[in-house]
């Protein structure tokens, strides 16, 4: 579920270290079992296939996150810095370190190659303003897991007015990400 949500969401979602740890442990466990098993045992093939599939999903999930971190790096770091105490983190500590290194690396590069050769009042550039933000208004497909009432939908055109909808369990919708973002975080809907 986390994998699908991350894949289809336009912004970086909450980091889920418990899930990752759990999956990794499972993989190690299965690998260890396989090493002990007899050669030529049919179960070996099936288990190996399972390991491959799980490893693929995990890799794909982490890759997707890295791509988003690199794409939106100033915004991701800013969001993490301005996070309140109780709010969940969107970056794991390792991802945070990676993001900071990426930012420092890119900043240093741009400074040394271009900015320091420019006139004095142009030597600074705000990466936060220059790098595009994630488009929270993009449309996403979702399936409803828990019934929701009175979701406020913004008007699309000037003639429309804002209205509320109820989301029935099991129904599928195409809607702007921004409207249902908190529902993805709470697990009430599943992006597909």
């Amino acid at each position: 579920q986390a994998w699908l949500n991350e894949k289809f969401a336009p912004e970086l979602l909450e980091s889920k270290p418990e899930i990752i740890e759990c999956v990794v442990e499972q993989l190690d466990h299965m690998e260890a079992n396989l090493k002990r098993a007899k050669r030529g045992d049919l179960k070996v093939s099936v288990h190996r296939m399972e390991i491959e599939r799980i490893r693929y999903v995990l890799s794909s999930y982490l890759r997707c996150r890295l791509v988003k971190i690199e794409k939106f790096f100033p915004h991701v770091l800013e969001k993490e810095k301005s996070r309140a105490e109780g709010e969940p983190s969107i970056l794991s500590p390792e991802e945070f370190a990676f993001a900071k290194e990426y930012m420092a690396n890119t900043e240093t590069y741009l400074k040394n190659v271009a900015l320091k050769h420019m006139p004095p009042n142009l030597q600074k550039v705000s990466l936060l303003r220059s790098v595009p933000k994630p488009n929270l208004d993009s449309f996403v497909f979702l399936r409803v897991l828990e019934r929701q009432e009175n979701i406020l939908v913004e008007p699309e055109t000037d003639e429309q007015r804002e209205y509320t909808i109820d989301l029935e369990e099991g129904s599928q919708h195409l809607i702007r990400y921004r409207t249902i973002a908190p529902l993805v975080a709470s697990g009430a809907v599943q992006l597909i």
């Binding site: 990752i20 990794v24 993989l27 190690d28 050669r39 093939s45 190996r48 296939m49 491959e52 599939r53 490893r55 693929y56 995990l58 890799s59 794909s60 982490l62 890759r63 890295l66 690199e70 390792e94 991802e95 370190a97 990676f98 290194e101 990426y102 690396n105 890119t106 590069y109 741009l110 040394n112 190659v113 271009a114 420019m118 006139p119 004095p120 009042n121 142009l122 550039v125 220059s130």
Partner: protein, 154 residues
């Protein structure tokens, strides 16, 4: 030149304000173009790490500036640290498993001489040019990307 025109503005020559604003806009646009070009190159170099691996072919390195090579080295080090921190003891190589697995073993043809190649159960395979083998998928992925093996789709 930007700062000298600012001091002219401060001295009260209001008729020059528009010229200064215009020139400043041009400078800003030039700055944006330069940075956009450099940043786009960085993004392509980043893609190379994911496609080719940690060692770039010489022909590509030839086209990179010294600072770009340095950026690449720092990027791949940062990525390696991150990959090591995920998953178990050795970490998880995220540049593997790019496509969902369809089958356990695949048919491959060797495109150039590689030498001996050991598989999990201890047997070794001699990879000579044009030889064909039926090998476990996960061992071949790296070699396929490097161009040593070719996946035969029948």
């Amino acid at each position: 030149r930007g700062s000298s025109s600012r001091s002219e503005a401060k001295s009260g020559r209001t008729d020059l304000i528009f010229l200064i604003r215009f020139r400043h806009c041009c400078l800003l646009r030039n700055q944006r173009c330069v940075l956009a070009y450099l940043y786009d190159r960085l993004l392509r170099i980043r893609a190379l790490r994911w496609e080719y691996g940690s060692v770039l072919p010489n022909t590509i390195q030839f086209h990179m500036s010294a600072e770009e090579v340095e950026w690449f080295n720092r990027y791949k080090k940062s990525l390696a640290t991150y990959m090591r921190s995920v998953g178990g003891e050795e970490g998880l190589d995220l540049t593997q498993d790019i496509k969902p697995p369809k089958s356990l073993y695949i048919e491959v043809r060797c495109l150039r001489d590689y030498g001996e190649f050991e598989i999990d159960d201890g047997t070794t395979v001699l990879l000579k040019k044009n030889s064909q083998h039926f090998l476990p998928r996960w061992k071949c992925e790296q070699l396929i990307r490097q161009g040593v093996l070719e996946h035969i789709l029948s």
